[in-house]
Symmetry: C2
Subunit: 348 residues, 2 copies
């Protein structure tokens, strides 16, 4: 068999502010691979099917000098992240040909070889009723993070109020449904009328478009809030702090605004005097530390509930082909996607 | 009986940075009072004996426009805070003459009339073996705050490491001893060699003078830290965050550096990427919300332990006379006191 193209997306330059396609990342189609004869050296060959474009990728686009829990991307090397793939060839007895894989460690490259399953990559037992992309959304890191974070930190009590910005994201969608099950009043925002409509379908009590309605005003009218699930940071975070109830729990799942600001990436609490009087607790969520102990319950409950339709999946924004990755990253970091951002390379 | 002087300390101007005696506050000896005939209108007359000069007074020296849990001081009115007094005359059947009172609501004034016991002012059952000042230190708000905060939030496990800056304060002294009882490795700092010596006496494993030894360096060598008890904020807070262990608990009891900075009073987390990966929780402590449920145990255990000497009291910096209040406030906010700051007006 003759070589086939093996395109990839390379990290090209550390961004200032929001990543720019063609500058922060470049699409490179210069390489090819012979799928039948490419040496495996005891490993296995993966065909990439789905790449998840996650907000958290932004934290890896930094200098390797800057300390963080997530390894920095290397300039000139392919991006890497969450995804789904299928095994085409294998010399590793633990990894059979035809198996689907999900989780961490997927290169933004059409084909690649691994020696063994890396930390965080698992076999995928695909349910025939669910689209493959579910495994990077409701059944992937976002769904699991929401589930574990809510169970560990929310201490939700019936009648309390929760605020979920980015409510139509894969994480937000799961958080909202867990809050609903716990009997909370739910305030949630999203960046388009279409997403706001979806929030209403989820049972959100106060759903609004943060691009046209002032978040602070909504919280002043509908708060105080007992639980805040943060993925945006910045002004929204401070508006939430200023409208926190006594004993409020803040779950920090990400601060996209903060990380995309040019210059300082510091988190700022503008008005500390207001929260010193309210016994507020702020919990920084680290998915891989909190998910393991909830995984058995998650796998038992969530796939079945998604199939039965008692849990809903978030909207998806699916684009096709590796060449869309750069633009998709920009759209995610700018809050412009129509749903959970996914790039599909193939279905099998 | 002829009138006697009734001096007071007035709030005079909102400070920028550290409060300045004679400017932020002024001592006023122009008034007098006839102790026998001053009308009580059904209330009672208090003679002020002890005033506690607390770090938290700084939050009240602000514009009344600025929202906070603690009421702002009014320009031209006496300061007010924690103290101890004795009842000289009473028309209130619930408050007998000769009773000692402790807690909130003490005017910085030699004599004053109250209609009834305000929120947070209690009768004091004085133990003869303990100096009166104990009731604004180990047995007052500082001791109770440390006790309740530790019990509610520390989740201390034997073998973990705790860092307590301001370790020789009344709060720090109690925190250190509770940590010791829980079997933790204790890192603590103070601002003089004398206080560092006291920390060693408490059993602190790594005691240092933060004025001569770099805090960040100590934490890098002796950390990571599982528990941080904050009363200072600023660089110390960020050095602690950067050296936090996975799952660390931060107790925010005050951020003196932050509140005394000129301009912004924002709390800044300089390097959020480092803590997003560590499941850190930050708990803002509000004394009056957390103390009540621990009070019965506190009153049963702590006074007896202080008398027996199984718990030690923090060093004290006692000055005599209302005219010392302004300077004492400055010293507290500058970290220059030799111990828990107390102004004594009289012993009975």
């Amino acid at each position: 068999m003759s070589p086939v193209p093996n395109a990839r997306v390379l990290f090209n330059a550390i961004p200032q502010g929001v990543p720019t396609p063609g500058q922060t990342t470049v699409y490179d189609s210069s390489q090819s691979i012979d799928l039948e004869s490419h040496p495996l050296n005891g490993g296995f060959l993966i065909k990439t099917l789905v790449l998840s474009i996650d907000p958290g990728m932004r934290t890896r686009m930094r200098s390797t000098e800057e300390k963080s829990y997530a390894t920095a991307f290397e300039i000139g090397q392919p991006l890497e992240g969450f995804g789904i793939g299928v095994v085409l060839r294998s010399e590793n007895p633990d990894v059979a040909v035809g198996k689907y894989l999900q989780g961490r460690g997927f290169l933004h490259q059409q084909y690649f070889v691994l020696p063994s399953l890396p930390f965080g990559m698992f076999f995928l037992d695909r349910h025939p009723a669910l689209p493959l992309t579910t495994y990077v959304g409701a059944l992937g890191l976002p769904g699991k993070t929401a589930w574990a974070g809510w169970k560990d930190y929310s201490r939700a009590k019936k009648g309390e109020t929760v605020f979920v910005p980015s409510g139509a994201s894969a994480v937000g969608t799961m958080v909202i449904q867990l809050a609903k099950l716990d009997g909370l009043k739910i305030i949630a925002s999203a960046g388009s009328e279409e997403k706001v409509e979806f929030l209403r379908k989820l049972g959100v009590d106060v759903a609004f478009n943060y691009k046209t309605v002032d978040t602070r005003g909504v919280l002043e009218r509908e708060g105080p809030i007992h639980i805040y699930w943060d993925s945006v940071g910045g002004e929204t975070f401070n508006a939430a702090l200023d409208n926190a109830a006594v004993g409020a729990r803040f779950m920090e799942c990400g601060q996209m605004t903060t990380l995309n600001s040019v210059g300082s990436h510091a988190i700022t609490i503008e008005n500390p005097m207001a929260i010193f009087g309210k016994s507020v607790s702020i919990h920084f969520i680290t998915s891989f530390l909190i998910i393991p102990k909830h995984l058995e319950e998650f796998n038992r409950v969530v796939p079945a509930a998604l199939v039965a339709g008692t849990l809903l999946r978030s909207p998806e924004d699916v684009r096709h082909g590796l060449e869309c990755v750069g633009e998709m990253i920009r759209a995610v970091q700018s809050g412009e996607t129509r749903g959970k951002a996914v790039v599909v390379l193939g279905e099998a």
